[in-house]
């Protein structure tokens, strides 16, 4: 399996100048993302995951290193981001929010409406197409952001803990929706999460990052065949082994093991 490379990052470093001095957010990141894969980044809070995605989205500059995105040409947007914070534009209805990316690409109204309607349907918001974000629950707003990113049909989808703030039930439902969408469209997706379960459920590969300044410690291939279903997956005996492996990489429990016995 040697699919073409979509993203190629070498020696990427990112410092922030703050009032408290220089903050090193990313310390020499190397990573490759293949065309059409779902690449998951896990790592402790503050290790620079959001920063990495923001750099890929063109919202942040770099301090050192190279970031290469292989464009396929045409007028498709290079990236579309599902932000970690709620980001549905308050002044647009659900329908206009989902169509926003297409509108900015100059897609004509009739076409973008029909595309938007399809993704609104997929995330289960058809009844709320005319509603404004303030009329939606937190989970529904997050689904608007997911639909907007998919509808805008970018070359790369960037998803920054899109389900992080949701309750377990909604999260599982949205993971399932994401699996459907991904297995149908096979877009290149870079997905950030805190949750090892989520990483193994969704990812083709899982990259584990070190604490700040973030580096890639190791990249794990996730062997589960597609199409996957969220719950069935957890019954696979391989599943537990992979969870333990990522845990070890993240260093969970290491301090306790190292502590002197009383």
């Amino acid at each position: 399996m040697t699919a073409e490379l979509k993203i190629c990052i070498r020696g990427l470093r990112k410092d922030f100048a703050t009032r408290f001095g220089r903050v090193e957010a990313l310390g020499s990141v190397d990573l490759d993302v293949r065309e059409g894969e779902l690449y998951v980044l896990v790592g402790p809070s503050g290790c620079g995951k959001s920063t990495l995605l923001r750099i890929l989205a063109g919202l942040e500059g770099t301090t050192a290193g190279t970031v290469e995105i292989r464009r396929s040409g045409g007028r498709r947007a290079p990236t579309a981001m599902v932000f970690q914070e709620p980001s549905a534009l308050p002044w647009l209805t659900v329908r206009s929010n989902v169509a926003y990316g297409l509108r900015m690409q100059g897609v004509e109204a009739a076409r973008r409406d029909s595309i938007a309607a399809r993704y609104i349907e997929k995330v289960g918001l058809a009844r709320f197409a005319g509603a404004y974000p303030y009329q939606l629950s937190g989970g529904m707003k997050q689904r608007v952001s997911v639909a907007r990113a998919f509808a805008s049909d970018p070359e790369i989808l960037l998803m920054d803990e899109p389900f992080g703030s949701l309750d377990e039930l909604t999260r599982l439902a949205l993971q399932d929706e994401l699996l459907w969408l991904f297995e149908e469209t096979h877009k290149t997706i870079v997905f950030v999460t805190h949750s090892i379960d989520e990483a193994l459920t969704l990812g083709d590969r899982v990259a584990v990052m070190s604490p700040a300044p973030g580096r890639i410690l190791s990249t794990i291939d996730v062997p589960f065949p597609r199409p996957r279903r969220v719950i069935a997956l957890r019954e696979d005996p391989e599943y537990g082994r992979h969870v333990a492996r990522i845990w070890n990489l993240l260093g969970v429990g290491r301090e306790r093991d190292a502590a002197p016995s009383a």
Binding site: M81, W91, L92
Partner: protein, 252 residues
């Protein structure tokens, strides 16, 4: 659950005051040369309305407010949004704005009449300048206080230039701009009266000034009442406009 107060409640206190006033005036307990009975004022207002004088003055004042308001608001929104978006524009314009803004607008009326004469144009410019500053500053602050996440959404989804202005900056700032428009409208009302007292033979300002000169106290009061009603109705109209233009804000 707290009981809803009955609907007519806000009318109660003004009606009570009017009733007491009427009683005191009829009993000659207050000087009716200064505080004529409300019924006498109403009769005088009815007279000016019937003769058409009131409507003519009201129409003239409304036109001046309307023209001056539009003339001041539109450029203020455009420049204010640009100042919010582009640091260079902000840093260039801000010193000038800070220098001119604190000057009481009534103080510049003589200068405006010197430049634009005493015709309608001077009044439009006078009102426009008054409205311009609160709207300008609110538009700028409105853009500057837009949540960064929405700016990021615009940039990430490819909004550039005019697209960014129309889909992110302007709608994001609109609630604050409306607060500026309300301030500006209140100011326009004050300024039109000042201009008409100083340099006009028509309009509501002239009506009350003229009433003072001929010591027609009832007419003076009816002018004040009309100005009060005008202020109330126009603030209701702006609120209604806001509900149409800013439909995404949750309302009580």
């Amino acid at each position: 659950m707290p009981r809803r107060p009955p609907r007519g409640l806000p009318l109660l206190s003004p009606l009570l005051i009017l009733a007491v006033w009427e009683g005191l005036a009829r009993a000659r307990l207050i000087d009716v040369r200064f505080f004529p009975a409300p019924t006498a004022i109403l009769a005088a207002a009815w007279g000016t309305a019937q003769s058409g004088e009131l409507w003519a003055d009201l129409g003239i004042s409304l036109e001046r407010i309307g023209v001056g308001f539009v003339l001041g608001t539109l450029p203020a929104i455009v420049l204010g949004v640009l100042m919010g978006l582009i640091p260079l524009v902000r840093m260039t314009c801000m010193p000038v704005v800070s220098a001119i803004y604190p000057i009481p607008k009534s103080a510049i009326l003589p200068l405006i009449m010197l430049i634009f004469g005493i015709g309608e144009l001077a009044k439009w410019v006078f009102i426009a300048i008054g409205v311009f500053f609160p709207v300008l500053i609110n538009a700028m602050v409105g853009v500057l206080t837009i949540d960064r996440i929405y700016m990021d959404v615009g940039r990430n989804y490819g909004a550039r230039g005019l697209n960014f202005l129309l889909t992110i900056a302007l709608p994001g700032a609109l609630p604050v701009i409306f607060a500026g428009i309300k301030l500006g409208f209140g100011l326009a009302l004050i300024l039109v009266i000042i201009a008409e007292i100083v340099a006009s033979r028509a309009g509501l300002g002239f009506l009350i000034w003229n009433a003072w000169q001929i010591f027609d106290v009832e007419k003076l009061y009816s002018g004040l009442i009309v100005i009060g009603i005008l202020g109330y109705l126009s603030s209701e109209a702006i609120d209604a406009l806001e509900r149409v233009v800013v439909p995404w804000r949750p309302r009580a």
